[in-house]
Amino acid sequence: MSFANTVRAPLGTASFKARIGAVSCLARRNYHTDIPEPDFEAYRSNSSKQANVSRDKFDAKRKVYSYTLVGGASAATVYMGKEIVQDLVGYLDINDAARALAITEIKLNDVPVGKSLLTTWKGMPLFVRHRTEAEIKAEQAVDLLSLRDPQHDSDRSLTPEWMILVGVCTHLGCIPLQDQGSFAGGMYCPCHGSHYDSSGRIRKGPAPLNLTVAPHKIKGEYLIVG
């Protein structure tokens, strides 16, 4: 123990230095040298009492029990922590009641070919049109350069037959009339005379943008908007 050799005892008596030096030769403890080391024989596991056997050989049998318990409890705790974090982050999401109010369901069989439906979605008017083949062909063939707000017809719907639009004129917010105007299957806004085609794109009149497409998906025989 080099510590004993290099220390300069501030109390500076020869007996103090001698005592420190003597203790460091016999035991690793420098204090409480009057207490004998206790006898732990009663607590030793049977596997560790074998003489002349390396401790590595029976380490596993002794420790695996404790580690299994620790591991199992840790796994349960990790699961608990994950659930808590998941729930707390989930509070940032909208709740199920609000989400249900924001969805509109339409039965597809209610709208025959060539007819339009007017309904509401999230408080806004919703146009649902089941387009005819002729209308689809006409819209797909339109030259994009001639449009004020160029968008291809196939970008505006999941399937060409179903056109789902928010029925609010992009000019000043009136509700256009369906199946009116210069374009087959299109819409006409009576406030200032905007003509939309059957894809909801602005063709004539003061409106700057196409009608907004409502996010939708088709599930079986139902159309789910929102």
Binding site: V64, T68, G71, A75, Y79, G220, Y222
Partner: protein, 65 residues
């Protein structure tokens, strides 16, 4: 005790392998724990849940199909 030795030396001795085993154990635990709890709750509340009673009150809605 071959299995005990393999498990201890292969998994428990190192913190890194132990941590991986705990995370994997948590994932497995979650699956079975959720399943067992759902089954027990269903059995404890038999007949009171909508899933048990939906045949009595047919509703035509997108969610049903």
């Amino acid at each position: 005790m071959g299995l005990v030795d393999v498990v201890y030396r292969g998994v428990f001795r190192r913190s890194s392998t132990f941590a991986v085993a705990i995370l994997g154990g948590a994932i497995v635990f979650e699956t079975y724990f959720n399943e067992i709890c759902d089954k027990w709750l269903a059995q404890h509340n038999a007949g009171k849940r909508y899933a048990d009673m939906r045949k009595l009150y047919p509703i035509e809605s997108a969610e049903e199909s």
